[in-house]
């Protein structure tokens, strides 16, 4: 089946099997291996990407369902994503790094959708993303730091 999927601003036309999952499309067809697979029951969030700005688990979406949609992954060079990435480095919001791309994409979604995300809101929206290493505290600190920075930058640009 032919699909036409926009990934990080670039269009990819590919002939794929109808059963192919979006995560396999990204990893195996496009070699964008930053999106990870952590489970086979859609519980872990390691595969989180954005589809038209909404966070989805790319292991539960078929590549054909992404046909003519816009996908954003950890490899995107969106400057806002860079702010989040830097906050994760500064706050040591990662250890083994395996959950990290999913966490960062979910963070991106959280902060894009709620300018004043408080701790409760963040925790609630992180429920679908598991991390086995950090105990989540440094992840929470990273998200808060990114949020502050983004606010700072917005008020500067106003």
């Amino acid at each position: 089946m032919m699909v036409n999927i926009d990934v990080n601003g670039k269009e990819y036309k590919k002939d794929i099997e109808p059963r192919m999952l979006l995560v396999s499309f990204l990893r195996d067809e496009l070699n964008l291996t930053g999106t990870h697979i952590g489970c086979d029951t859609s519980n872990c969030g390691a595969c989180t990407v954005l589809m038209d700005g909404k966070s989805i688990k790319s292991c539960t979406v078929l590549a054909v369902q992404a046909n003519n949609h816009k996908i954003t992954t950890i490899e995107s060079d969106d400057p806002k994503l860079d702010v989040i990435k830097q906050a994760y480095v500064d706050e040591n919001g990662l250890q083994c790094g395996f959950c990290t791309p999913g966490m960062i994409m979910q963070t991106f979604y959280i902060l894009e959708n709620n300018e004043n995300a408080d701790e409760e809101y963040i925790k609630k929206n992180l429920r679908g993303n598991l991390c086995r290493c950090t105990g989540y505290k440094s992840i929470l600190d990273s998200i808060k730091k990114a949020e502050e920075k983004m606010k700072g930058e917005i008020s500067v640009s106003k």
């Binding site: 291996t33 930053g34 990435k85 830097q86 790094g97 959950c99 925790k123 290493c133 950090t134 105990g135």
Partner: protein
């Protein structure tokens, strides 16, 4: 680039990110039964093609002193006549894509006759033997300490209780995986691991290969927590298949396979009896410790019961102690280490008895601990050596966390325990300086603890060089001749000491060559130094935790505050310390509330990683992290850390919870049926 910059940009190179031309994807056909007789297998690669045992004589238990065990309990790479756990490999299939390889699983046909499976320690004790040719399900049995007659010792009160920690599979976010690539008579083996050396030993021993024909290379490793320190049949299959098909072969475990077939830890039960005076002083301990070793002697099962028993009395100086340690065969995946690996179990059993004693004697839980702590170094009757007085430490700890005040207002539980790192037999480090870049290799392989940070601290300190010139490379058996592994809270002690030694050697070489040392001189030259530092002594440390929790009107428990007072020896990186502590604490919290693998009649009831009880982001207590730095006798003065929070957290937390619920807790994860009320 700093590893964290790579990871946040999606530039990690985990095992599944590595692709070779013409690579085959391996899928494993696994037993659906807990126990069955196999009469015939067709399809895929199976025991008819390749009939061999697998084992590795190096690994975590080897570094704690375990010896090899008997052949009847070894597992075949592919099951032959019987399967003995759900998930046991029977055959493997190979496709050009992962989808194709999964489809090929349908072509494997197995004729089974299901048999009654042994699903628990009690069933193992009372049921028929799992393995034909054996008389019972005892894989290993030891007696520690000296038996005593209770009439011969001085006591006023005797208390007895039973405890259980359910099995937990480590569940790193990245599952297990490997790529075997056989070319030009060499086996290149890429793997997500804690120890390239133990994988190499395993491949050589299982496939009868020559040492110089095997190279093991570590991919970025996405967490491990013990599960990637073991050696597995899937590695042998992939290597064998690559040699047979002359192609690279990749195997990536699914999470479902991880729950069934990766080696779980915990799974320990104990019956403990203590004898005490009315002032709280314990004069004797008798106990039986059982572990659920799983179906085969492959991971740590045979040694684990003895390791728990050996450290049962912890920081307490108790005159009489006698413990039977028994490892039992069950129809489950072989047991392996999970962060803590026996240490949390031992502390749980002993500390629960101390809390019980305090309640019976109406004493404060801290006071019972104080009276049993020691004024001087001692060796326990079970063989555990404590090189310092533990009572002054406990007094300080109680003060530092403000126990007396906090416990008046809040439901505070405490844990007082020993951490025994697997420091023996030592570790290696290599530093290569070339073109102004510094590459570091350690014999124990980092798997998400951020060793690069402490590596940079050591070299920045010793050699005054800029951090961004330094990288910690992944494990590679061609770069390090001899290495052990990263587990058992040993990396800072053993790896850190080896690196310090090498850094100093290099400094001396610079001085010899140029008459004086400067970082510029160092970076302009070429240096290559390797050293294996031997450590043949234990580096035990004493530690303390306090936890408070509260319960709302629906019975919902919240973990409020988490306190530590740890003795870390010389700290190599504060950032690493905090990360290890908070990451370990949530695993301890998970053990208490939810983490478990549950079986019924040989069938795994735990169906997903969520079902296995891994906590999401809603359990983040307030952390009050304190530590002291009493240098150890290791060359760099470090002590262990990684496992400390997994030891102290369950102990302190269950006490805090039982103060809320008034129901005595004897099991993790906690259960409130069969309640015994707190008096």
């Amino acid at each position: 680039m700093d590893y964290r910059n790579r990871y946040v940009n999606g530039k990690g190179r985990y095992i599944d990110d590595i692709v070779f031309d013409n690579m085959l994807y391996m899928s494993v056909y696994r037993s659906q039964y807990g126990r069955a007789k196999i009469s015939n297998v067709t399809g895929g690669l199976n025991a008819n093609d390749f009939n061999a045992y697998y084992k590795s004589s190096s690994g975590e238990m080897a570094s704690l002193g375990a010896k090899d065990n008997k052949n009847v309990y070894l597992e075949h790479v592919f099951a032959t006549d019987y399967v003995n756990y759900q998930g046991q490999p029977i055959a493997a299939v190979f496709g050009k894509t992962r989808y194709e390889s999964e489809d090929l699983l349908n072509e494997v046909k197995v004729d089974y006759t299901p048999l009654k499976a042994i699903s628990s320690i009690d069933e193992a004790l009372n049921g028929e033997p799992v393995h034909t040719g054996t008389e019972n399900n005892i894989l290993a049995s030891h007696e520690l300490g000296k038996d005593f007659n209770e009439n011969d010792i001085d006591y006023d009160i005797a208390l007895e209780d039973e405890f259980f920690n359910e099995r937990i599979v480590p569940n790193p976010m990245e599952t297990r995986g490997c790529i075997a690539y056989y070319k030009d008579n060499m086996l290149y083996f890429y793997v997500s691991t804690q120890s390239v050396q133990s994988v190499k030993t395993g491949l050589i021993e299982s496939l009868k290969l020559k040492g110089d024909s095997v190279v093991v290379i570590q991919a970025d490793t996405g967490g491990a927590f013990g599960v990637k320190g073991s050696f597995y049949p899937e590695y042998v299959m992939a290597a064998y298949a690559s040699m047979k098909y002359k192609k690279p072969v990749k195997w990536i475990e699914t999470r479902t396979e991880h729950l069934m077939a990766a080696y779980p830890g915990r799974g320990a039960k104990a019956k403990i009896k203590i004898y005490a005076k009315n002032n709280g002083k314990i004069t004797g301990v008798k106990g039986e410790v059982y572990v659920d070793a799983g179906a085969y002697d492959a991971g740590t099962g045979s040694f684990a019961s003895r390791f728990i028993a050996f450290q049962l009395t912890g920081p307490y100086n108790i005159e009489n102690a006698y413990v039977k340690a028994i490892s039992l065969v069950t129809n489950k995946a072989p047991m392996g280490p999970y962060r803590g690996a026996g240490r949390p179990e031992a502390a749980f059993f002993m500390e629960r008895m101390i809390d019980l004693l305090a309640d019976k004697l109406k004493m404060d839980i801290a006071d019972v601990r104080l009276i049993n702590a020691s004024e001087k170094p001692f060796k326990s009757p079970l063989g555990l050596e404590i090189k310092e007085a533990t009572r002054p430490f406990l007094e300080n700890a109680l003060k530092e966390v403000n126990y007396r005040e906090v416990s008046k207002k809040e439901k505070a539980g405490i844990a007082f325990f020993v951490l025994i790192p697997a420091s023996r037999p030592g570790e290696s480090a290599r530093v290569i300086i070339n073109h102004g870049k510094i590459k570091v290799y350690l014999g124990g392989n980092v798997h998400g603890q951020g060793h690069e940070i402490f590596v940079k601290n050591i070299l920045e300190n010793e050699l005054k060089i800029r951090r961004d010139f330094i990288t910690l490379e992944n494990g590679d058996t061609t770069m390090i001749e001899k290495g052990v592994g990263s587990w058992g809270s040993r990396s800072a002690i053993a790896g850190g000491s080896a690196l310090l030694y090498v850094a100093r050697e290099i400094k001396n070489e610079v001085i010899k060559k140029y008459g004086e040392y400067s970082p510029e001189k160092l970076l302009s030259g070429n240096f290559d130094k390797y050293k294996f530092i031997e450590i043949d002594y234990s580096v035990n440390s004493i530690n303390f935790n306090m936890i408070t929790s509260s319960m709302d009107k629906n019975g919902e428990i919240t973990v409020d505050k988490w306190y530590s007072y740890y003795d870390l020896g010389n700290v190599l990186s504060e950032m690493n310390v905090r990360a290890q502590i908070i990451g370990g604490a949530i695993e301890g919290i998970g053990q208490v509330f939810s983490e478990s693998l549950r079986y019924s009649e040989g069938q795994l009831m735990t169906q997903s990683i969520a079902d296995a009880g891994i906590l999401p982001a809603n359990h983040i207590p307030e952390y009050h992290i304190k530590w002291i730095e009493n240098p150890s006798e290791a060359p760099n003065g470090a002590k262990g850390l990684g496992e400390a929070p997994t030891i102290g957290t369950p102990v302190a937390l269950v006490r805090s919870i039982e103060l809320n619920t008034a129901i005595r807790i004897r099991k993790t994860p906690i259960e409130f049926n069969n309640s015994i009320l707190l008096e």
